[in-house]
């Protein structure tokens, strides 16, 4: 649906002010003092009532968003006394939980280094936030750039609380990641002189964002997924299970992580995986809809890995901050919350209010940009309302072709042209409506530079781990994070499995957790990990109703293998 009449007036103002704004240029960047006042006042991270203290577990006393706290304090989905740990369904070196870019990279590197790998994927292999990543992957590979500058940008963007070794790893490995992906077959955009086409991004002091038009994540994932499949089909030791997420980790009696329990989402059957090492790569938490925000994340982004790791006593870091992408689509409702890449602003588009007026530099760091937008709408009342009750601001995309030449948008943002085009909005000629959307988990599971957690045998890579980006991630550093720490995790896990000897499998950590829950009086907490959001309309749902549940006393698969079929 093209824009409704109620939004036409405002849209016209945007068109009217356009040439003036282009001539004038963007407003000044917000001075430091104003920024330190702005963000705490408007950023969702600072609304105290939306957070609470954790009552049990390694981060007891720490703060987390209400929705995440519920998950972390949740009950286990299993009853340890009803699980027969002698019935192993899969026995491998490395179990990788989750298969986006990080899981994929970890699997490939582990296999290359001699380990047998099993991937447990909650949805299809490759269904992940990575696929939707549009902008690009940072890599400090131009002559006027260096890992030192990259490091500085990472630390600055993260408010200087990043773990130095992790930021260092991110920066140093970045050029190699670009190279590795190209060797696997990723089609990076190039200049006519064969150098990489690199854009700037918010918070980056150099142009270092490598992209594949605005399909970067999709291109990377297609290649990684195909590589995994090809290796499998060639008989190499890498395999996967789809629609079978992990719901609990296994330990052994020496305190090492020893595998996981998976659950088939369709049949509710469990399988037990014994593994010498486990890599958690479960991605983000957008589908918990913190503070009721829509999200850019995929269907399965429910913070499962945080829960699994928390239960085996891993600490989490920076759980009190989430990244809200400043430009999520606010119209039409079919794409509410979806990512409108920062690249649009990098290419020259500005965010303007209902009167068509500028109010913030388009390339402030994300938390600043988001806070400014929220202020514009909430305090200053200058947002645009949609017929479904959303509020947003205009992102004036037509400025891009005007500034950079006709055809730029079509060339650089074909996915977005297509996405809005489905709804009769031509972003080449019309502005988009945007608003902050829940996008990224800045923190997560604590790891070292080898992507190892302090729990022996447990590794974590990608969005689910923390410390790399401090309190705020820069554009292009997430898809970098996946591959840097995914590969490091794979390598480290393969090395670990050569040395480790597993003891007797146990679920005592679950019993311990249940005791803690009981002592704290938290038996009423729902089960976790969440696995999938529940969007079915719930008007007449009767809890506990079991339409099918009685096992037929006469079953074809009785004592004999098959009796009739």
């Amino acid at each position: 649906m093209p824009y409704p009449a109620s939004m036409e007036d405002s849209k016209r103002k945007v068109e009217e002010t356009r040439s003036r704004r282009i001539e004038k240029g963007p407003p000044e960047r917000i001075p430091a003092e104003e920024r330190t006042a702005l963000v705490p006042k408007f950023h969702p991270d600072f609304i105290k009532e939306q957070f609470r203290e954790l009552r049990i577990g390694p981060n007891k006393g720490g703060r987390a968003p209400l929705e995440i706290a519920d998950l972390l304090e949740g009950n286990s989905r299993i009853d340890p006394d009803r699980i027969d740990l002698d019935k192993i369904d899969h026995d491998v070196d490395v179990l990788v939980v989750g298969c986006g870019g990080a899981g994929g990279a970890a699997s490939l590197l582990a296999e290359e280094n001699g380990a047998s790998v099993l991937i447990s994927s909650k949805l299809r292999l490759g269904d992940a936030n990575t696929i939707g990543a549009q902008a690009g992957t940072q890599g400090c590979d131009r002559p006027n750039d260096s890992p030192l500058l990259h490091y500085l940008d990472i630390m600055g963007g993260g408010h200087y609380v990043n773990v130095p070794e992790l930021a260092e790893a991110l920066a140093k490995d970045s050029p190699d990641v670009i190279k590795w992906l190209e060797e696997l077959g990723v089609n990076w955009d190039k200049e006519p002189d064969n150098s990489y086409h690199e854009l700037s991004g918010g918070g980056a002091s150099r142009r270092r964002m490598h992209s594949c038009r605005d399909y970067t994540g999709l291109e990377e994932m297609r290649v990684i997924r195909d590589e995994i499949r090809q290796r499998n089909w060639h008989g190499r030791k890498i395999d996967w299970l789809e629609f079978e997420p992990a719901i609990e980790l296994l330990m052994d009696d020496k305190g090492q992580v020893a595998g996981a329990i998976l659950m088939n989402l369709e049949t509710r059957q469990m399988s037990i995986v014994r593994a010498k090492a486990v890599v958690i790569a479960t991605g983000g938490m957008g589908r918990t809809h913190i503070q009721g925000f829509p999200t850019t994340n995929h269907y399965g982004a429910t913070a499962d890995g945080l829960v699994l790791a928390y239960r085996v006593s891993c600490h989490l870091v920076h759980m009190d901050t989430m990244q809200y992408h400043p430009t999520g689509a606010a119209f039409p409702p079919q794409i509410l919350g979806f990512l409108v890449t920062e690249k649009v602003r990098t290419l020259g588009a500005e965010i303007v209010n209902c009167d068509g007026e500028q109010f913030v530099h388009p390339l402030e760091a994300r938390d600043t940009e988001a806070s400014a937008e929220i202020r514009e709408c909430k305090e200053r009342g200058k947002g645009v309302s949609t017929p479904t009750g959303e509020v947003g601001l205009w992102l004036d995309s037509p400025m891009v072709d005007i500034k950079r030449g006709a055809g730029t948008i079509q060339r650089e943002l074909p996915a977005m042209v297509r996405q809005f085009g489905r709804f009769d909005i031509d972003i080449i000629k019309e502005p988009m409506l945007v608003y902050p959307t829940l996008h990224y988990q800045n923190g997560g599971i604590v790891i070292n530079a080898d992507a190892a957690t302090p729990i022996p045998g447990l590794f974590a890579a990608g969005e689910c781990e923390g410390g790399v980006h401090g309190r705020n991630r820069l554009i292009g550093n997430s898809t970098l994070d996946l591959f840097v720490f995914g590969r490091r995790a794979g390598r480290a896990a393969a090395k670990w499995v050569k040395e480790v000897k597993l003891g007797k499998l146990t679920l005592d950590h679950v019993r311990k957790w249940q005791r803690e829950i009981k002592e704290a009086g938290l038996e009423e907490m729902p089960v976790s990990p969440m696995l999938l959001p529940n969007y079915a309309r719930q008007e007449r749902y009767v809890p506990g109703f079991q339409p099918l549940g009685q096992v037929s006393p006469y079953t074809p698969f009785g004592d004999r293998a098959v009796r009739w079929i």
Partner: protein, 244 residues
């Protein structure tokens, strides 16, 4: 696919029975090599069927299934309750396929000289270009394209003869590039033939009239009042017509 080096071996539970690999909507499962039908294999893997399950014996068309093999992309069709799984089979079911149905009363079906009723109800039938996809999909091995041609020609008798074993599973409609629904067209054809073209059985019409006029009522009252013993005697004495 080299199974010997496959890293994720199934648990020891299944060791004694030879297992087959099958793929249910792309997801790999192992089932015993014991002649399981697709339906039994789904249940073996833990699925409780709601859609795609009916008479379980090949009559009702509920379980229309599309499959091929990992080594052969040619699409094949069958009924899940009757088709036995094989190694490397890749399966999906289509329990429902949107297909147009014409609205009519049986009175509307009365044949008229010079009018093809089926073409009237389903005008698109004339766009059939003979690709034979429909015939290839039919799990009952019917000559679907032939009876569609018969329908185009208005030969209701042949439509009735050739389509009689149709289970209305819908696979033909799913594969017709022109969006035709041979199974619905044939159904209208058969009803037309049954109601109007089949030879009339006068004896039945006569009997109906007799009953409505109450010819048997008196005898019936007598029978109803008989005791069990009287009835048994009458029963034992009744003359049995030879069966053949």
């Amino acid at each position: 696919m080299a199974q010997e080096t496959r890293v994720a071996e199934e648990g020891k539970v299944e060791e004694k029975v030879k297992m087959l690999d099958i793929y249910i909507m792309g997801k790999r499962y192992k089932v015993p090599d014991a002649g399981l039908t697709i339906q039994a294999a789904l249940e073996y893997c833990g699925y409780n069927l709601i859609r795609g399950c009916g008479c379980r014996e090949g009559f009702c068309g509920a379980c229309a299934t599309i499959y091929n093999f990992t080594y052969d992309p040619t699409i094949k069709y069958g009924l899940a309750c009757q088709t036995v799984v094989e190694q490397n089979m890749v399966i999906t079911q289509i329990p429902f396929f949107p297909a147009a149905e014409s609205l009519y009363n049986v009175g509307d079906l009365q044949p008229k000289e010079g009018v093809n009723k089926l073409a009237e109800l389903y005008p698109d039938i004339l766009t059939c270009f003979g690709c034979n996809n429909c015939t290839k999909t039919c799990p009952q091995n019917l000559e679907v394209m032939e009876f569609v041609s018969d329908a185009i020609r208005g030969d209701y008798e042949k439509v009735y003869e050739k389509s009689f074993d149709c289970l209305l599973c819908g696979l033909c409609a799913a594969r017709c590039p022109q969006g035709l629904q041979p199974y619905n067209i044939a159904l209208a054809g058969r009803r037309l033939r049954g109601a109007y073209l089949a030879p009339k059985s006068q004896h039945n019409l006569d009997r109906v009239k007799e009953i409505e006029e109450g010819n048997f009522d008196a005898d019936m009252e007598k029978l109803k009042k008989m005791s069990a013993d009287e009835l048994r005697e009458l029963y034992a004495k009744r003359e049995i017509e030879p069966a053949l």
